[in-house]
Amino acid sequence: MEQAKKKQLVVIGGGPAGLAAALAARKNGVQDLLILERDEQLGGILNQCIHNGFGLHTFHEELTGPEYAARYIEQIEHEKIDYLLNTMVIDLDDKKNITFINQNGVQRIQAQAVILAMGCRERPRGALNIPGYRPAGIYCAGTAQKLVNIDGLMPGKNVVILGSGDIGLIMARRMRLEGANVHAVVEIMPYSGGLKRNIVQCLDDFDIPLKLSHTITNIEGKERVKKVTIAKVDKDRHPISGTEETIECDTLLLSCGLIPENELSEKACIQIHDITHGPIVDESLETNVEGIFACGNVLHVHDLVDFVSREAEHAGIKAAQYVLNTLPKKETEIEIETKGVVRYCVPAKIDPKRMDDLQVIRFRVGKVLKDGAIYVWADDRCIFHRQKKILTPGEMEQVILKKKDVEYAKTIRIESEEM
């Protein structure tokens, strides 16, 4: 194995988060910078998200995924930022030693700073406990999306989709457009996890039924999926016996949530958050390991790529400050408490001395709230208050804290409740 090379900053992952983070770092003065990407092209999941709706915040126009990626890739090329494709990072330690493998063999880099931008992966069948046979024809929705949009292959003709997250909804339309029959989208919760616009334009437009409060209780077929059994569930999400019906199909797509991909983070002794399954970070998006930052879906799963780009820029700027020795040392970190229906927030802690004048805090609620309110408290002062007609777990919320409001605070609390 070759001697470890030195780099100021290495970005692991060349998807939307990695690209935005690398660009921001370059624009803030980092010269010696490298992106490591395991796929054969930059852009990550955007390459297979051929539908439109991306970029309204960032570019003020509606782009498809590949177009959004191309905007960033052009800038990466323009800035002459180095990247390696077909390159898999296989190890990272808390001293920021990176080991990766590609067609040139195994190589090592000693980085001054690292940005984690590895994204997330889909929850597979094995994690869902669906009884039944294990025939061919069961795919994660994103895998099916790659087969159709990147490889030009159709996974099947008669489709049932479990889970109504955005990927499931988008794939319902995509499969229908390519000539498949989509018999139902089955959702265990009483509400869809996807955006409302996707229910309208992906399901309603094509008369695809959405079965809320239903789940799959059996998969039949020895070689290939032949049929699935669906059943209604009670409020504890247990199937109600007697409500079963069978649907003949040859393909089952699973759109049952995304899990941040943190095997590398764990190797580097980075603390992982119980709810987000991403690293615990502070206001600079720095993990507990000094000089390792995280952003995008590896940190927590986002709904909009525009927000990923924003967050990644912040990580890029902070990593640049770290590399150039202008990021102040951590002093007193305050953990942000979450109360009411707020499930988590990112960052989970802030150092008021180190924070910028304005700090974005992103969070999700745990259930649907009609006429909800969001409060932020610094000690016993309410420093932020907003009413919202609707708050849903499927849509990430954010509040912006002002440094002057929290500078001398001992505690900070985000709260959301029904009015």
């Binding site: 709706g53 949009n149 990147i150 030009g152 457009l177």
Partner: protein, 136 residues
């Protein structure tokens, strides 16, 4: 007559209330001008963007993604998809290039949304030549 719609222009998904009184259409519940336009169009003449993929010959990637240059009649979606069945694109192809003109007589073009460069060499692994070289 009135209709309740969900605006599909952006991920906000505003709940629109559209009141139709003869030729006068009133939209409320929108949070931007695009919502009003959508509400009016949806009750009189619904349109949708189409996004799909087409196969590429001699490209670095097998498929190129594409979209309608503007929204088309909702009723025409499958006609446009059928018209695209026979289209194959030759690499290189770049974002914005027209891949099919006036798709299914909608007066709307289908344009590329991805750059696919020409493959530098034949992608398939030629076992025979490789073996011959190996045996030399």
């Amino acid at each position: 007559m009135e209709r309740r719609l969900t605006c599909i222009n952006c991920p906000l998904g505003c709940a629109l209330h559209v009141i139709i009184d003869g030729s006068v259409i009133q939209v409320s519940g929108n949070s931007c001008p695009r919502g009003e336009i959508y509400g009016k169009s949806e009750v009189s003449h619904p349109v949708r963007m189409i996004t799909t993929t087409l196969p590429v010959l001699n490209g670095k990637q097998a498929m190129v993604s594409c979209k309608s240059s503007e929204p088309i009649d909702k009723e025409k979606i499958f006609e446009v998809m059928r018209a695209l069945k026979s289209v194959v694109v030759e690499a290189p192809v770049h974002i914005g290039e027209v891949l099919l003109e006036n798709a299914a007589q909608t007066n709307v073009n289908i344009i590329a949304t991805k750059n696919v460069e020409k493959a530098e060499k034949k992608m398939s692994f030629d076992i025979k030549t490789n073996t011959e070289e190996f045996l030399k």
